[in-house]
């Protein structure tokens, strides 16, 4: 490897910051990694997205391994919806190859703006608590029939087993298609689209929805990463270095986040994101 120490240091640092932010804010790192690589390191957009998509595989795997073990991730629902995310991801990754840098930057800037608005909105309400879902109440302990996709998990915070059925799979499928498409196109996880839909419309409790989405993200990213790889856009030294940083960062972030007010951080960050969005818009010529 010919990476200079200077390069190595800044890439590791950037990766760690992205990992910490992702863990604290509860959204994947990809959405920050791509702007950082493009604006600070002058990496071409397609290569930045390729780097990001591989790092998404790594973070998703790291988180999913504990979630699957705890039974939080609903594997049957996840695998069903993955059909949609993978289709979306592959078409997104293929589309990215057809788009000019400017167009990709423009799409990215708009999505970043949406994420900033979502963060601001999330910070203004009492999050972390599962939003009660009157339409699809959580079922009593261990009911007989959870349906084809329903599941149950033990919630230590509530000290009981939580069982749920999955309602309306079609909207979940559509959301997964869109999330997968954005994932393949922009190198982001797409959880910010899937989680609200799986939770609010499919009626899956928040913790299970987040865990399931997280599990799906890695599988989805593998599909599009292979397409970026085929185009030669995955750069080894860059990707490996950034991933090491992101993994270390997410670990630190997950420890720190337990002592921080998530709402405050989200509010601060929504504001901090604005100049980044501005820079992306400037670069994209909007």
């Amino acid at each position: 490897m010919y990476l200079t120490i200077h390069n190595l240091f800044w890439l590791l640092l950037t990766g760690s910051i992205v990992g910490v932010l992702g863990a604290i804010l509860g959204i994947g790192g990809g959405i920050f990694l791509v702007p950082a690589l493009v604006l600070i390191f002058h990496i071409p957009v397609h290569h930045a997205i390729a780097t990001s998509i591989v790092s998404v595989i790594a973070t998703s795997s790291a988180v999913a391994s504990t979630n699957v073990e705890k039974g939080l991730a609903n594997m049957r629902l996840g695998m069903t919806l993955e059909v949609a995310t993978v289709l979306g991801a592959m078409s997104g990754a293929l589309t990215a190859g057809w788009l000019s840098e400017a167009t990709l930057l423009q799409i990215f800037a708009v999505v970043l703006l949406v994420v900033a608005v979502l963060l601001g909105w999330k910070s203004s309400k009492s999050e972390r608590e599962a939003i009660p879902n009157p339409q699809h109440p959580v079922l009593d302990d261990q009911p007989d029939d959870l349906g084809l996709l329903g599941a149950s998990f033990y919630d230590p915070a509530e000290g009981r087993q939580i069982s749920y059925r999955v309602w309306k799979v079609l909207p979940g499928f559509l959301a997964s298609l869109i999330a997968g498409n954005l994932s393949g196109l922009l190198g982001v996880g797409g959880g910010f689209i899937k989680v609200p839909v799986i939770h609010l419309i499919c009626g899956v409790p928040m913790k299970a929805a987040t865990a399931t989405s997280n599990f799906m993200i890695g599988v989805t990213a593998v599909a599009s990463a292979l397409i970026y790889f085929g185009r030669g856009e995955v750069r080894p030294a860059l990707t490996a270095t950034v991933i090491l940083g992101v993994l270390a960062g997410s670990f630190i972030g997950s420890v720190v986040s337990q002592r921080l007010s998530g709402r405050l951080v989200q509010a601060i960050f929504a504001v901090f994101l604005l100049p980044v969005i501005w820079q992306m818009f400037v670069r994209a010529g909007l």
Binding site: Y2, T4, N7, V38, F41, H42, I43, P44, V45, H46, H47, V54, I57, A58, S61, A62, A64, S65, V68, E69, G71, A73, M75, R76, M79, L94, G97, W98, L99, S100, E101, A102, T103, L104, L105, Q106, F215, G218, V219, V222, A225, L226, I227, F229, G230, R231, G232, V234, R235, P236, A237, L238, T239, A240, I243, V282, R283, A284, G285, L286
Partner: protein, 250 residues
């Protein structure tokens, strides 16, 4: 045990392996990236495959790699391999070989421009806004210089570029004293800026030829910015607008 439970069991058992597979896949992808694209002078495979010349295939990855010994044997190979990790401002390119025109790299999809209606406009904080046709640009006194382009982590090209110094154009447009930055904007929206001092310096010019031939479309035809000492992201291709601004306005 119902069928659902059996399926559930299988899935749960597979889950751990699935995760391990994904971690491995990410590492293998990062690792294979190196095998696939290391000799830096081989062109990066493009998508869709139809764009690739018939002699090459998109799955060429493992084929004719030099052995590690061969790779390490010459220090100049080491030097060129490490160029992609360096800042072009720190590199002396005087003893680097010239990259052949068909081996020049590019990223993203090219933008098409109609040369009959093409105009380069110079506006903003200038007393004499300009709108130049391709012929008018060719009529300016030209400079020819070998300039190194580094696209960090991806590739480098050391080519001989010919074009019009940005300083000449800005001098004719009469930049106002409050000017601080110059934006270079491509057809399609891509935009980059240089400070006014950088824009006026030597080695910053609007290229219409590379290695003595007209600029190919994928490299920015009709006009691309060449900026010595700046990363490739600043070398705006398909240039259509130059806008002079003060620091606090867009």
């Amino acid at each position: 045990m119902t069928l659902c439970e059996v399926v559930d069991d299988i899935i749960k058992h597979m889950a751990g392996r699935c995760v391990i597979f994904m971690s491995l896949a990410s590492l293998v992808l990062a690792g294979c990236g190196g095998v696939a694209v290391t000799p830096m002078d081989t062109p990066v495979p493009t998508w869709p495959p139809t764009e690739i010349e018939p002699t090459s295939s998109p799955t060429r990855m493992p084929v004719p790699l030099p052995s590690p010994l061969e790779q390490r044997s010459s220090s100049s190979a080491d030097r060129t391999d490490s160029l992609i990790y360096q800042d072009p401002a720190d590199v002396d390119n005087s003893d680097l070989p010239i990259t052949a025109i068909e081996e020049l790299h590019t990223t993203g999809k090219p933008v098409e421009l109609d040369i009959t209606t093409y105009r380069l406009t110079v506006e903003g904080l200038v007393e004499n806004p300009l709108s130049l046709s391709y012929e008018e640009i060719l009529a300016y006194p030209s400079v020819t210089e070998v300039v190194l382009l580094i696209c960090p982590h991806v590739f480098y090209d050391n080519a001989e570029w010919t074009g019009v110094p940005v300083a000449d154009i800005l001098r004719q447009a009469k930049v106002k004293p409050e000017a601080e930055k110059v934006y270079f904007k491509a057809s399609g929206g891509y935009r980059q800026s240089l400070t006014i001092e950088e824009a006026l310096s030597d080695g910053v010019f609007l290229a219409y030829e590379v290695n003595g031939q007209p600029l190919p479309q994928e490299h920015g035809y009709p006009l691309r910015l060449v900026a010595r000492g700046k990363y490739g992201s600043r070398w705006v291709k398909w240039l259509t607008h130059i806008e002079v601004i003060s620091g606090d306005s867009l």
